[in-house]
Amino acid sequence: MKNDQNTIIRYTPSERANHWVSAITFILLALSGLALFHPAFYPLTQFFGGGVWTRILHPFIGIVMAISFSIMFSSFRQLNVMTPADREWLGHVREIAAGNERNMPESGKFNGGQKVVFRLMVSCMVLLILSGIVIWRSYFAFMFPRAVIRLSSVVHAVSATIMIAVIMFHIYAGIWTKESIDAMLYGRVRRAWAKQHHAAWFRQMTGGK
C-alpha cells in the first residue's frame, strides 16, 4: 500500500514485526501444544521433527512468545484501557456481528471487542507461562509437588484452549473485517477504513478530515 494521503499509519514497523513474532510463535505453540494434548493432533509433531523435538521445542518457543507478547503488552497497554464508550460498544456486539454497524458507538484505535480480546490474551498468557514452567519436566517440574503439577497441567490445557479460541476469533475478525490485515502487514490503513471502523481514532489522527 502506497504511502500516500489516502492512508494513515496504524502500526509502526517494530510493532508489526513483534506482532508477527508473537503470531508465528503462537501458531507453532498451538500446533505443538495440540499435538501433545490430544492424540488426534499427534501427527502435528511431524512439523517439529517428531514427538521428542516437539516436547523439547514447545517450551522454548513459549518463552519467545512470552517475551514478544510482553513487549506487545507494554506498547498496547495504554491503548487498551476500557472506556464507557467501549462498554457501550460491547453492548451492541450482536448488531455488528450481524453486519449492522449503524448503531455502533465510535471506537478509538481499538474497539471494545479488541480490548476484551487483549485482556483474555494477557490473562491466558500469564497462566500459560506460570503453569508451563511448573510442568516443564526437564528443568522445573522436579521442584514442585505432584498436586501442583497436576493443577498446572489442567490450567495449561484450559488456558491454552481459551487462548487458541480467542486467537482464532482474533484471526477471523481480521479476515472478516476486510482490509484489517493490511494494517498489520503494511502498517497503514485507508482513511475510509479508519473512519468506518475506528472513527474516534480516525478523528484523532486526522483532526476530523
Binding site: 494434548f37 517428531g50 475510509a192
Partner: protein
C-alpha cells in the same frame, strides 16, 4: 514376539481400539510384607535382569539405598520402624510400579504407543516411543516413573514383560529368598493372599488384609499388609489411590471438550462468514473518500 504386539488392551495416545480378540489370563505379583526381610535381592535381580546399574551413592543414615526409585532402580525397599500395640515392627515395603488396571500414566501419556497395557495386565513403557514429557509422572497415583537424565526417557518396572511373555516369572519374584513375592494369575494370587491373611490373623494381626486398590481399578501388583487398615504405615502407601480429579479433568473431559469447542468455533466462524459476508467499509464512507482519490 510378533503376536505379543497384538495382545494389547490399551495404548497411550491412541484413539482407535487395539486388536483385542485374544484372551490371555491376567497375571499379578503379590508382595507379602509379613514375609519380607528387606534383603534387597529383588533390587539386584531387577538391575541384573534389566541391565541397569544405579549409581554407587552414599549412606543417608538409614538402611534404604538407593534412596528412591530412579531410571536404573525400578524397585526399592522402603524401611519403616513403627511402634504399634505389638511393640516395634519393622515394615519393609518393596516399592515399584503397581501395574494398575486403570493406569494414570497411560492415561496421561501424549505419545502414541509409549505406554501400553497388555491383556495380561502388565503396563509397559516403550521408551522408543517416549518423548520425555513426563506427563506419566504427573499422572501416576503412586509416583513411580522416573525420567532419565541420560536419554530423557521414562523408565519403570516392566513386570519383566519379556520374561512373562515367554512364560517365566519376573526376575524379582524368582529371586525372592523368603517367598515374600509370588507371581501367578491374579485369581490365584488373590487366593494365595487369602491363606496368608488367615495365617496373619491367627498370629494376632486382626487387620491383616490385601492391598488391591479399587480406585485405580485394582492392581497387578498387590500387597499383603499386616495392617491393611493403615497402609500409610508402610512408608506412605496411599490409602485410596486414584488417578485424581485434576488428571481426570486434564486427560478426560478437557480433551474432547476443548477439541470440539475449537472445532465448533472454527465452523461457526466459517458459517458466519458465508452467511453474513465480510465486514467491508460502507458505501457511504467509500463515497465520502472518493473525492480524495
Amino acid at each position: 514376539m510378533a503376536l505379543q504386539s497384538l495382545d494389547i488392551t490399551r495404548r497411550s495416545a491412541t484413539t482407535i481400539p487395539s486388536p483385542s480378540q485374544r484372551q490371555t489370563p491376567e497375571v499379578a505379583k503379590l508382595i507379602d510384607i509379613s514375609k519380607c526381610i528387606g534383603c534387597k535381592a529383588c533390587q539386584v535381580a531387577c538391575m541384573e535382569w534389566n541391565d541397569t546399574r544405579d549409581v554407587v551413592g552414599t549412606n543417608h543414615g538409614v538402611l534404604d539405598n538407593p534412596m528412591d526409585l530412579s531410571e536404573n532402580s525400578w524397585t526399592v525397599m522402603r524401611y519403616a520402624e513403627v511402634q504399634t500395640d505389638r511393640g516395634l515392627e519393622w515394615l519393609i515395603r518393596k516399592d515399584g510400579c503397581m501395574h494398575c488396571a486403570n493406569p494414570g500414566c497411560l492415561k496421561s501419556c501424549p505419545a502414541p504407543g509409549a505406554i501400553v497395557q497388555y491383556s495380561n495386565g502388565i503396563v509397559d513403557f516403550h521408551e522408543e516411543n517416549c518423548i520425555g514429557c513426563g506427563y506419566c509422572i504427573t499422572g501416576c497415583p503412586f509416583n513411580i516413573p522416573r525420567l532419565s537424565n541420560k536419554d530423557s526417557k521414562v523408565y519403570k518396572c516392566t513386570l519383566c514383560s519379556d520374561r512373562v511373555a515367554v512364560g517365566l516369572e519376573p526376575a524379582c519374584v524368582k529371586t525372592c529368598p523368603t517367598g515374600a513375592i509370588v507371581f501367578g494369575t491374579k485369581e490365584d494370587m488373590l487366593h494365595h493372599a487369602e491363606g496368608r491373611i488367615a495365617d496373619l490373623k491367627s498370629r494376632g494381626f486382626a487387620d491383616a488384609g490385601i492391598y488391591d486398590p479399587k480406585g485405580v481399578g485394582g492392581t497387578h501388583v498387590m500387597y499383603v499388609l499386616q495392617h491393611a487398615d493403615r497402609p500409610a504405615l508402610y512408608c506412605g502407601l496411599p490409602k485410596d489411590p486414584s488417578i485424581g480429579a485434576m488428571v481426570g479433568l486434564w486427560k478426560g473431559a478437557a480433551k474432547p471438550l476443548a477439541s470440539f469447542a475449537l472445532a465448533a468455533g472454527a465452523l461457526g466462524a466459517f458459517l458466519h462468514y458465508v452467511t453474513k459476508g465480510p465486514n467491508k467499509v460502507s458505501e457511504e464512507i467509500e463515497k465520502e473518500f472518493e473525492n480524495e482519490k
